[in-house]
């Protein structure tokens, strides 16, 4: 009970801070927006039509790209949430938290839920581009997508928090995250189909948990409209379904939450 209270207040403070810095919300859309509009439009106008739709029409690159960009903003926001811990350490607030009579486990989990909620909200805001992209989403699809984004965001946030809990300065955190973030993003099916990659690259994509998150987003956004079975992730020659994708993401997340909790409970 007291653990729930503690998680709640940690989560609540994160949301409060997010809300008080709304400006950042808009700034964080600039990059995904540019990717979608420039990259997407540019490539889809000069390149292929992908796959064959159920009604016989294919889908264009921008439609393929869109779920990847949703994944991008969730990934970036979630992983960068760890910086709030480094910030708290630098500005001293972490002491107030660490000396408080609340369990470290609830602090780590509260932080994870806070970052994941914010990343999910950011992902949801991306859905305003749905009409522009030319896909349609039912309410059921949107709810499914929110659930998927949240699980994915929890896993990634926990990873960010685990790393942040071992880092003392903002600069180091930024550098470490850039080193992690871009490989995780580029080595996933976010920007391009991964079916015909050379095997070494394909292997890297398959050990990247982000791949399965993005794959689940893509399936849930596109599948009902267009047949995209050729573009799904596969593992050991098995084509992944949404539940299988998100199960892998969740397993990764559980390990990360465990590491984050453990790292937090030995904080000095």
């Amino acid at each position: 009970m007291s653990n729930l209270r503690a998680m709640y207040i940690i989560w609540y403070r994160d949301l409060l801070n997010f809300w008080r810095n709304k400006g950042r919300l808009f700034a964080s859309f600039i990059m995904p927006f540019l990717f979608l509009v420039i990259f997407g439009t540019g490539l889809s106008s000069s390149m292929f039509l992908l796959g064959q739709g159920a009604q016989g029409e294919g889908f264009n690159y921008i439609q393929f790209l869109f779920p990847g960009i949703v994944g991008m903003i969730v990934l970036f926001t979630a992983i960068m949430w760890g910086i709030s811990i480094v910030w708290d350490r630098e500005f001293g607030f972490l002491k107030e938290v660490l000396v408080a009579p609340i369990s470290r486990t609830s602090v780590a989990i509260g932080k994870t839920l806070g970052g994941a909620t914010i990343a999910t909200i950011q992902g949801m805001v991306m859905l305003i581009f749905v009409p522009f992209v030319g896909v349609s989403l039912s309410l059921g699809q949107v709810l499914l997508l929110i659930g998927l984004m949240f699980i994915f965001a929890c896993s990634v946030t926990a990873m960010g928090i685990f790393i942040a809990s071992r880092i003392r300065t903002m600069e180091t955190f930024q550098v470490v995250m850039q080193l992690l973030l871009f490989p995780m993003f580029f080595l996933s099916p976010a920007l391009f189909p991964v079916q015909n990659l050379p095997s070494w690259l394909g292997a890297l994509v398959r050990i990247n948990p982000v791949s399965y998150g993005v794959d689940s987003f893509r399936q849930s956004i596109l599948e009902p409209t267009v047949a995209m079975s050729d573009f799904r992730m596969s593992l050991f020659n098995h084509t992944m379904s949404i539940p299988e994708d998100i199960l892998l993401v969740a397993l990764f997340g559980i390990v990360m939450v465990f590491l984050a909790v453990r790292s937090f409970s030995t904080q000095e």
């Binding site: 503690a6 801070n17 001293g92 002491k95 107030e96 660490l98 000396v99 408080a100 009579p101 369990s103």
Partner: protein, 331 residues
Amino acid sequence: MNKIIEVEHLVKRFHQIVAVNDISFEVEEGEIFGFLGPNGAGKTTTINILCTLMKPTSGRVILAGFDVVRQQNQVRRSIGLVFQDPSLDIRLTALQNLNFHAFVYNIPRAVRRKRIEDVLRMVELWDRRKDAVRNYSGGMRRRLEIARGLLHYPKVLFLDEPTLGLDPQTRHHIWDYILDLRQRESITIFLTTHYMDEAAVADRIAIIDYGKIIALDTPDALKKRVGGDIVTLKTENDEAAIAEIRHHYSIDAQRDSEGLFFEVQNAEEFIPLLINNFNTEIHSISLRRPTLDDVFLKLTGHQIREEAGGDVAMRRQWAMRQARGQPGRFR
């Protein structure tokens, strides 16, 4: 009386630095216990260990009956802190910072608002309660930290140089509130400070230097160690006056920019005696009681704040001579 804090052979080492070097002491329940010492003496490190933020290298600390290493949660439930360094969320408002604290420390909803209003009014921030702390001045932030520390009523309240950087009037005001709160809620206070007048509110003071406790006593008893009152003379001819004092009373007077000074017991009675048969012309004479400053100077050979006072070099020499014969003082 109960012992609320028991520290036995506490040591904290950071690589080569020994920040806390085998200290032992006890604090009684309800007491105000002062920790007095210069920069880097190990005061904050000691507090960090007592409040579970750091693990000791060796030694044992029992607080409110709990071991600070093995029973961290119970210890945390028993304490409150005003940190030396900033620890507010500057992006939030004063009210949001206090609400967070109240929630974390489980202050019942019924009294939460009243208490928050009380402490904010006490530190005169009630009108600014909805401003982000980012926009506060340094002194306002400090006051808010104090307000937050006083929000829940812990068994033991740690105040690490609480009023650093506040003006005298505000300090006074805040101390009134703290002392009143302590009476009402029977809180034990563990205080560190450089301000001598602030340390004087303590029931007992430990003087700490280079990680060691070099004296532990009541403020009065400590002052007695200086050996008497301090008399300052301005004379026509200091050389002659020094010689005369030495000749008649076997007292070594010292010179500094203010004139001559020396220590003597019962100065009220000594001064008339001195004046009655003194050949050198005296311009002025003054007498003051020893302060903790003098105590510190005497015990350690250096001033607690070297930058304070213009005649440091002279006073220091004097003190070194006074401290001579106490082995191991200088390194």
